[in-house]
Symmetry: C2
Subunit: 125 residues, 2 copies
DNA sequence: TCTTGACTTAGAGCTAACTCAAGGTATTAC
DNA sequence: GTAATACCTTGAGTTAGCTCTAAGTCAAGA
């Protein structure tokens, strides 16, 4: 699969795909004899994982670390497990923050809806 | 309340508090005759709201827009309502992304836990 | 009054995560 | 073979969101 096809499949720019590879956020992608990227199933798996992590807001640094551990072999399995557990905790905390903000937004939205309906404010910020 | 007290109360730097005010993410804070910030209850409400939005990952630009609308008076109430509804949608989408990533993490974590227990991989990335 | 420490502004500097540009190579269509 | 297009690398540029620095002002204690 060419970089163009991958970029269309995952709706991500070719620049970003090359960037992810360059900084080690995904392992080196399979190349043709001419040096052109030819993404295999395994490469796509890494791309998908990277996009998933980033879309949740996890820093690229974490994925770089994970890839390094992966490339270092099976001895790093406990370290990889710990990294994943740590990031899960980060995401759970982030979700708590989002929920707290959603509560606040919902409260304000209901107040504003009242204000719009009745044409006046009940007290608001 | 002095800027030091506010920064300690919300665990945020004084620089950031001044920055938020400077860019219009919160309205101008009450000052003493000497020009020193003296946060009132209302100022604290804005600080709290700003911190809440930022901690959920909403861009400062959105809060700036909201404050501008607020300062423009009651005629902007429908626009403010719409802004809040839009941001709620952004947060709900962000939460979906986090949940998707949590699912992926949990799957990988369970695989790694098996690998650590049994001392071998069942197939993993 | 003098000193000390907390406060002020304006503007420069920093980091993360892209994003773009320049100059070159590979592949495909004719 | 050549032209057009898609790819390549390296390195510089951009944006958001702080964070720090410099140079100065205000307020409280000796």
């Amino acid at each position: 699969m060419t970089i163009r096809e991958v970029s269309e499949k995952y709706d991500i720019t070719q620049d970003t795909l090359r960037y992810y590879e360059r900084i080690g956020m995904i392992p080196p992608v399979t190349r043709t004899s001419g040096g052109i990227r030819d993404y295999q199933q395994q490469d796509l798996g890494w791309v998908e994982l990277a996009i998933c992590m980033r879309s949740a807001g996890l820093p690229v640094e974490v994925m770089i670390e994970y890839v390094k551990l992966y490339q270092a072999g099976d001895a790093t399995i406990p370290a990889r497990l710990q990294l994943l557990i740590d990031q899960r905790e980060v995401l759970l905390e982030q979700r708590r923050q989002i929920d707290a903000t959603l509560d606040r937004l919902n409260y304000k939205i209901s107040k504003y809806e009242d204000a719009v309906k009745t044409g006046k404010l009940s007290w608001e910020k």
